[in-house]
Amino acid sequence: MSTSKKQTAANISRLLAGATCTLLNQAASAQDVAQDTNDPKWDVETAVLYYSEKDRVSAIEPVFSATRTFESGNILNIKAVVDVLTGASPNGATPFDGPQTFTRPSGNDSYTIAAGETPLDDTFLDTRVAIGAQYDYSLGRLTHLSSGLNFSNEYDYQSISVNTRVAREFNDKNTSLSAGFAFAADSIEPEGGIPKAFTSMPEVEDDLNRQGSSESKDTLDLLLGVTQVINRKTLMQVNYSFSNSEGYLTDPFKILTLANSSTGAPEDYLYENRPDSRTKHSIYWKTKYHRENGHIIDASYRYLWDDWDITSHTLDFRYRWPLASGHYIEPHVRYYSQEEASFYRHSLTAGEALPEFATADSRLGQFDAMTYGAKYGIPMGENGEFSIRLELYRQNGSTVGTPIGDQVNYDLFPDLEATIVQFGYSFQF
């Protein structure tokens, strides 16, 4: 090796030492930042959601969620949600050629629906406050537990629930099996009390003829799941869930029209009645795929069935598309299709024996729904993000059973359109 080459080689070492020194000193100057990452931090997500149904309910929902990851790796999440609902929702009665007057739940007042209109109860105004805490912790390297407690409160409804879930990783952490349960106890104390099943809606100031002032229900949920890393880019998850509710499952504000057997004209309005038990099962499949170009595909499907004979299919598809400078757009399409409950009907028929159970609540009817939307995200600072989500929801119902008389002239299951706008801001401190 020549002398000049040796000098070059020695130079390399000295220059390398200098470069390394610069790297480490610069890193040291960023030491405060790194020090911070040793301390637990809060990841905060805030959002406000506006939900607006055309001519019906609208809601404003602020959400606050804070997550702290401790040095041990355990995670605490605290969440608070407020829902403010206003507007009108269908009371269950069918439209009619003449005006219809309904007594408000309190029994002290009434509202009148114009001829030909779908009867909507505009008493609907409520504020719900929900708070919850969830704690994730580990038992050893491969077993994770998560437990939570949730409360929600509104004017006439309270709910408390607890949940625990255990997950165990196998197969080099490529497979995760999880099992969980949740138990919820709900109580309702509606304005005016609990109506007796199939009794007539009283006239204003009449005796309400109620069975009591409050009711309750208990719900037990069980979940079994498996998450599998298929390859470096694909993650698949399959869950089975079981849910059993016992107690008061009727909606005390919903009625059915007792229709004249030939004309379909309302002869009376009767309070609905549902079974006091419901058992649901669902299978959920989800796949997340990361494309080479950084795009993420997220597809899921859920099939649900229950002992009220409701079955539903939900298909959900999201595509996350990264743009320049950390922006992204995420289009979203969701399809939902539901078969009605066995006791769902648009109305009762005068002169016929009353069924054991009946409801005209459109949520238990047969319908399809599509949601189209997109979310746009903009990075804010080092760890922050602002996002806006816009979605359109359109529900198309179908009439179950044969319309009676003049009912033929009306849409017994009117379509529903809703707009959803959500502003989100997340940050770390």
Binding site: K6, A17, G294, P322
Partner: protein, 296 residues
Amino acid sequence: MPSTAHPNRPLILTKRDLVWVGRFDAMASPCEVLMAVESKETAELFLRIAAHETWRIEQKFSRYRDDGIIPRINNSGGATIPVDAETAHLIDYAYQCHQLSDGLFDVTSGILRKTWPFRPNSTIPTNKEVDALLPFIGLDKATWNNPDFRLPSDMQIDFGGIGKEYAVDRTLALLTAKTNSPIMVNYGGDITCNRSPSPNTPWRVGIENSKEMIELTSGSLATSGSTHRYLMYDGKRYSHVLNPKTGWPIENAPLSVTVKGDSCTHAGMLATFAMLKGKDAESFLEAQNVFYRILR
């Protein structure tokens, strides 16, 4: 909701004579921090600081974490990606090392792993397979205009050749900001220390596959290469150190190179450079006036 997939990775603290020994796993290596501190509480705190900094670096520069900066660059499809200050320093450093090694140290050479898996019983690739990858290697093909980094489509970078030594130095820097007590950081054989545990006893470090013990009173020691990673094919030994210019293993590369340096990152890069020199590894290090050991 937070992901439940957050592993609670274990930290193990024991005491050997007067020194607390903290252990954890990171970067596919056993990691060890030796601390000549008084209280168990201090040792626990230091161990947590060490592990969290190391895991932070591991996660931040992981090639696999979808939200990490490396996949963002590698999946950018040729788009310009703005990077944070720490990543910028490492990119600066990668450029300097690329230049100082005359292009032999190249953070974009990782895609050669596709054809050179270095698994037992794997065969060697064809010239054609190797040549097909060469257009996608070369840091000089990227555009670096701090903080904007643009990597051409289908190229990849990773800091695998720097990350562990960098974590060793970062850990010692964080701990010596808190104490003057003797600390030694040893992540899978890449080592640094601030001073001897006591005036007359240096830290004693073994060299891989050698009976020799090296005494360390300050500074760092790093090893490049592993006696276990090579490929035998048709009676010829292929080193796992690849030449990014040819796509083929460096001829006559040592089995391993251990170098003593000011910092672990410095020592590690010198050792890597020496490996890349092949048969000239010894003469290269000889010219540096550094302590070294080479196994062939």
